[in-house]
């Protein structure tokens, strides 16, 4: 996978036999144990491992929950209560799965902002970045489908509203949108047919995600990791083997992350959810505030920022779509924002804009919240399609270090004492 030469030598009869038939140990050795990794990766780089952990947790708990869940409009809500009350440790497994979705998104957002900050999408890592955006999109689809399954009020009305996005296409070709809508729901409203297909797809998509994650890691291992300086690895003095150096660092970070996860699961399991989802779905009554899960709020704010239905839907999908083009929107010669004083300011503003959009998405779409949503939406798009290319051309970056090894020495204040190796 790494494309480089292998560092593995089988030592005994069995490993030699295995290596000439299925070089499993060789692949593990070259891609995990001895994979040369830049030695200056900071804690922001541990989120790849944390995300792998999250995916594994969601897969395992999800498979277990599927052993008890009933996908039917009549019985879904009751089956969740059965899991919560009667299944051995059912409450634990469900709370882990439920909060696991939030933890997964928390980690993926950190991972994405880290990628944006250090220019990890720039050549030769464009495919790596695009695969990441695909994973993110699949995660959103999976999370949305999963949220409909408990068949509470938010499940039902979330499903109704989201599937209704597609009715916006009636503005393009009359009848197209409503046709797609009925096809998606398999009925005239969200009901039994919908919950069954949502469950089937919610079970399928995580395995698709796992497949794309495999490609993502493959695409990472061809050029190797980016790093906080954004400059290329020049030789062995710049790297350490992945194991034990990064297994232990990732392990430590994952343990800390698990503590945050555990605080939610054991002490505030419903904090990130919405009380209305403990009310069984009622097609005749819409809850007073329909709010998506927190990780969708920025996109929800973008959807509601414009008064036109079709434009809102297109902007919302465009907000994800624009991410695919980021590798070609950034015209800077330098990868890392650490050496780009101007871009760095705009990046901080971008993070603030995303948080502000998230806040606005939780408010009723009126007054100050609407204004903030509009400003945030404007900045979100301007950041990608104007600031990124223009600042990239115009800004004068700071002087880059000669190598990762020298950058590390300089940072630790040894530069003057030990000039070179």
């Amino acid at each position: 996978m790494s494309g480089g030469h292998s560092t593995y030598t089988p030592t005994n009869g069995f490993t030699k036999w295995l290596d000439s038939r299925l070089p499993l140990i060789r692949v593990m050795n070259d891609n995990v144990t001895n994979f040369p990794t830049p030695k200056n990766l900071n804690y922001w780089y541990t989120f790849g491992a944390i995300l792998t952990f999250c995916l594994a947790v969601q897969l395992v708990t999800g498979i277990v929950l599927a052993m008890h869940y009933v996908a039917s409009a009549d019985k879904a809500f009751a089956s969740i209560e059965y899991i919560m009350r009667d299944v051995n440790y059912g409450w634990l497994i469900r709370y882990v799965h439920m909060n696991g979705a939030s933890m997964f998104f928390l980690a993926v957002y950190v991972h994405m902002f880290r990628g944006l900050y250090y220019g990890s999408y720039k050549a030769p890592r464009e495919i790596l970045w695009i695969l990441g955006v695909i994973i993110y999109f699949l995660m959103m689809a999976t999370a949305f489908l999963g949220y409909t399954l408990p068949w509470g009020q938010m499940s039902f009305w979330g499903a109704t509203v989201i599937t209704n996005f597609f009715s916006a296409f009636d503005q393009v070709i009359p009848g197209l949108g409503s046709g797609v809508l009925e096809w998606l729901r398999g009925d005239f409203a969200v009901d039994d047919a919908a919950v069954k297909r949502f469950f089937a797809l919610h079970y399928l998509l995580p395995f698709v995600i796992a497949g794309v994650v495999f490609l993502h890691i493959w695409a990472l291992h061809v050029p190797g990791n980016n790093n906080p300086t954004g400059i290329d690895v020049k030789g062995p003095q710049d790297t350490v083997p992945f194991h034990p150096y990064y297994t232990v660092k990732d392990g430590f970070a994952t343990a800390i992350f698990m503590m945050l996860f555990a605080v939610f699961v054991f002490y505030a399991p419903n904090y990130l959810g919405h009380p209305d989802n403990y009310v069984e779905a009622n097609p005749l009554v819409t809850p007073a505030h329909i709010v998506p899960e927190w990780y969708f709020l920025p996109f929800y704010a973008i959807l509601r920022a414009v008064p036109d239905k079709l434009t809102g839907v297109l902007l919302m999908f465009g907000a994800i779509g624009v991410l695919f083009f980021v590798p070609w929107l950034d015209w800077s010669k330098v990868r890392s924002a650490s050496y780009r004083p101007v871009f760095r300011q705009f990046f901080v503003l971008f993070v603030i804009a995303c948080l502000a959009l998230g806040w606005a998405g939780a408010q009723p779409a009126e007054g100050a919240a609407l204004l903030i949503a509009q400003v945030g939406t404007f900045y979100y798009f301007i950041f990608f399609i104007f600031i990124m290319p223009v600042v990239g051309l115009w800004e004068t970056p700071r002087k880059l270090p000669e190598s990762i090894a020298k950058a590390v020495l300089a940072k630790n204040g040894h530069a003057a004492v030990q000039p070179a190796q």
Binding site: S102, K249, F252, M259, V263, Y278, E293
Partner: protein, 267 residues
């Protein structure tokens, strides 16, 4: 990227997480009570839940179902009647309390009958179906209470506020027929007539029980419903403490390993 900036970012993200919770505050500030189950170490007060069950049985059960809770839950390991030394005692106590409660069933000839409720039965629902419930309640459907404390923003405080929030309607409010005025209900017009009306409406028989004042009964039944919504809460908090202690220990070990492994590498 040092610890300080990591913390700052973590703070920002947590603030973003907090936004949805802050978004849905009701217009009137709820009454707050001190609940034994509040906080990371809070536990249920079994005696209070037993009293609350009595209030539910004598007052609420006339209209509200509790269909996801079974009688066995009362005497089971998470229940207020549980007797760890000899589970049979708790089971007998619950059997005595539900004596006379008739639940629908079919006889051997397939005819609908009612029979004495067993421990394995879910709580009896007062109405056969939603239409029957609406017909008997001025068109309103009394909601199931099994997860009510989790189903309302404010949780236990909300329920307690509603139960004690009935008032004379202000002069300028035109009341819809059959509605009652409640200070804490959205729109203030609630279909449920004041359920707990007077002191000693329910007779507390357990030795050492407090006086059955309106306020006390409202608190007790709320505590009972909090337990019904989340029967595994005590187990959850206990397990959480062990998990966090374990993870802290593991994280400390991994940090020491990390420092030693990286000791000879400039990074």
């Amino acid at each position: 990227m040092k610890i300080r900036s990591m913390l700052a970012t973590a703070g920002l993200l947590l603030a973003a997480l907090a936004a949805p919770a802050l978004a849905s505050e009701s217009e009137v500030a709820l009454k707050t009570a001190e609940w034994s189950f509040d906080g990371p170490f809070g536990t249920y007060d079994a005696a209070q839940i037993r009293r609350g069950f009595q209030v539910y049985k004598d007052v609420c059960a006339a209209c509200h179902s509790l269909k996801y809770v079974s009688y066995r839950n009362l005497s089971g390991p998470q229940g207020p009647f549980h007797t760890p030394a000899d589970p049979k005692l708790g089971e007998d106590a619950v059997k005595a309390l539900i004596d006379g409660i008739e639940v629908p069933d079919l006889d051997d000839a397939g005819e609908p009958i009612t029979r004495q409720a067993r421990l394995s039965d879910p709580f009896r629902s007062p109405f056969a179906n939603e239409k029957a419930a609406r017909a008997a309640n001025n068109g309103a459907n009394p909601p199931d209470l099994s997860v009510m404390v989790k189903a309302r923003a404010g949780g236990a405080d909300y329920l307690y506020s509603i139960l004690t929030g009935y008032e004379e309607a202000p002069g300028d409010v035109v009341m819809q027929p059959g509605m009652s005025y409640n200070r804490f209900f959205a729109g203030h017009q609630i279909g449920m007539p004041q359920p707990i009306v007077s002191d000693d409406q329910v007779t507390y028989t357990e030795p050492g029980a407090p006086k059955a004042s309106v306020d006390q009964m409202a608190r007790d039944v709320t505590a009972f419903l909090a337990w019904a919504s989340e029967p595994h809460m005590e187990e959850r908090k206990r397990m959480g403490l062990s998990v966090l202690l374990f993870l802290a220990f593991l994280a400390a070990l991994l940090y020491l390993s990390y420092q030693r492994i990286w000791a000879d590498v400039e990074h």
